[in-house]
Symmetry: C2
C-alpha cells in the first residue's frame, strides 16, 4: 500500500485536472481536508507540497490553498535573444531596469573573458506581467562598448530591454547555454518564487566578427512560465561543429 500522502495528492490532483476544482478556486482549509482524509495536518501538508511542486496549487499564507490558473506561457526566442512579442506583450506588461557600473569579478570575468577588475556596465531587467515577475535578465558589457544611453537610462533601449534582446549592434554569433537549476537566492527573491525552486536559466554570449565578446547575459525564468525556442537551418550546420 502506497504512502497515505500519495493517495491524498492523487485524489486532489484528479479533482483539479478533471475540473471538479476550478482554477482560482480555494481549496478547503488544511484542517478541513485533514479531517476529511482522516490524517493530521502534517500529513495533509505533505500531500499539498507535491501539488505545489507540480504548480497545480498555490499556497497563500493566511488565506488558503488555491487552484492555479494555467500560466500564460511566454516564449524566449533563441538567436535573437528576446521574448516573443506575440505572447510577452500585453497590456499589463511592465519592466523595471536598474543599471550599474561594476567591475569584473569571479565568474563574470570568465564569462566575458576579461581580467578581474575590468570596468563593466550591468543592467538588471525584471519583466512583470501585472504583479507576477516573468523573467530576470542581467546583461553585462564592457563599459566602453556599451551603447550610448544604456547606463543613463535612455529610453531608446527600453523596448529592447523589455524583451531581453541583445543590446547594441547585431553580433556575429550568439551562443546560448540553457539549463534547469534551482534559483539562486537573489533570483528567487526577484522572481518572487520560493527559494530553491527550479528556473530555466539561459547564459547568452554575443560575439562580434573578430571574436570579441560584446555582451554576456544571464537570464532566469520561473520554470513553468517560459519555453525557449531555437531554430536551426541546414546551411549553418557545418559551422556549428567548430568550437
Amino acid at each position: 500500500m502506497p504512502p497515505c500522502h500519495y493517495e491524498i495528492a492523487d485524489d486532489l490532483r484528479r479533482q483539479i485536472t478533471s475540473g471538479r476544482l476550478q482554477p482560482g478556486e480555494r481549496l478547503p482549509s488544511e484542517a478541513a481536508l485533514a479531517e476529511r482524509y482522516a490524517v493530521t495536518t502534517v500529513t495533509l501538508r505533505h500531500a499539498l507540497a507535491a501539488l505545489q511542486g507540480e504548480r497545480l496549487v498555490e499556497k497563500i499564507h493566511g488565506k488558503g490553498n488555491f487552484v492555479r490558473h494555467a500560466p500564460r506561457k511566454i516564449l524566449y526566442v533563441g538567436g535573437w535573444g528576446m521574448l516573443d512579442p506575440l505572447t510577452a506583450t500585453g497590456p499589463a506588461l511592465r519592466i523595471t531596469v536598474r543599471s550599474a557600473a561594476i567591475l569584473a569579478h569571479g565568474s563574470l570575468g570568465v564569462l566575458l573573458k576579461v581580467p578581474t577588475g575590468s570596468p563593466l556596465a550591468e543592467l538588471s531587467c525584471l519583466t512583470l506581467d501585472g504583479e507576477t515577475p516573468q523573467g530576470l535578465a542581467r546583461i553585462y558589457t564592457l563599459r566602453d562598448l556599451a551603447p550610448a544611453g544604456v547606463l543613463d537610462g535612455g529610453s531608446a533601449h527600453q523596448e529592447a530591454l523589455a524583451r531581453f534582446a541583445v543590446l547594441g549592434v547585431l553580433p556575429a554569433t550568439i551562443r546560448e547555454a540553457v539549463c534547469a537549476r534551482s534559483a539562486t537566492p537573489d533570483e528567487a527573491s526577484a522572481l518572487k518564487i520560493p527559494a530553491a525552486t527550479a528556473v530555466l536559466a539561459v547564459t547568452r554570449i554575443a560575439t562580434d566578427s573578430t571574436g570579441r565578446i560584446t555582451e554576456a547575459a544571464r537570464l532566469a525564468f520561473p520554470a513553468d512560465r517560459v519555453d525557449a525556442v531555437f531554430t536551426t537551418h541546414h546551411v549553418i550546420d557545418e559551422r556549428q561543429t567548430s568550437p
Copy 2:
C-alpha cells in the same frame, strides 16, 4: 528570527560548500544531527529536504545522507541534436534502446502533424553513466519514413541513438523548444529521480525542405546534469524571424 530549519540547512550548506564535508562523505545520521541541533527528526528532515532540492545531498534509504559529487555535466548540442561526444562519451557510458511500432494519439499527432492513428515508429533511448541515468529520449517518426534498421535494432543507428542525434537524413530545419518542468511519472522512474523533480525538457522537430516533419523527439534530462547549448550565426538571423 528565521525558522529553525533554515538555519540548520544554512549550517550544513556551509559545511558542504566550504569543503568541511567532502563529496561522497556520509553525513551523521538524522537522529544524530537532530540531537546535535536540538530539534526533532521531523524538523531536521525539513532542513535536509532543502539541501536535496539543491542537489547538495543525496538521500539513500537505509544507508544515510551523502554529500553529492559535483555532477559531471554533459552537453546537449542544439541544431545537430546530440550529446557532446567529448563529455558524454566515457568508458562507463551505456545505452539501452527499445523500439516499438505505435499509432499516433493525442499530443503526439499534434507534434508530428499527422492524424490520430497514423502508424509511427517509436524509439526509447536511455543513456546511463554507470548506474546513473543521464537522459531519456523518445524519438518518433512516421513508420514509412523510418530509416532501415531502426525498428529491428540494426547497429548502424546505435551510435546516433547513444547521442540522441537526429535519425535519417539531415533535415532542412530543426526547431527545439526547451523548458524546465517537473518530470512526468514515467520520466521520473526511467531517470531514477524522485517524482516531480525538475527536468530540462527538449522537444525537437525536424523538417525536410518541403516542410514535412521527418522526426519529433522528446528529450528529458535531470535538471542538474546537462546544459543545452545553441549557437546562432549572423547570416541566418533574418530567417529566424519567420514563424
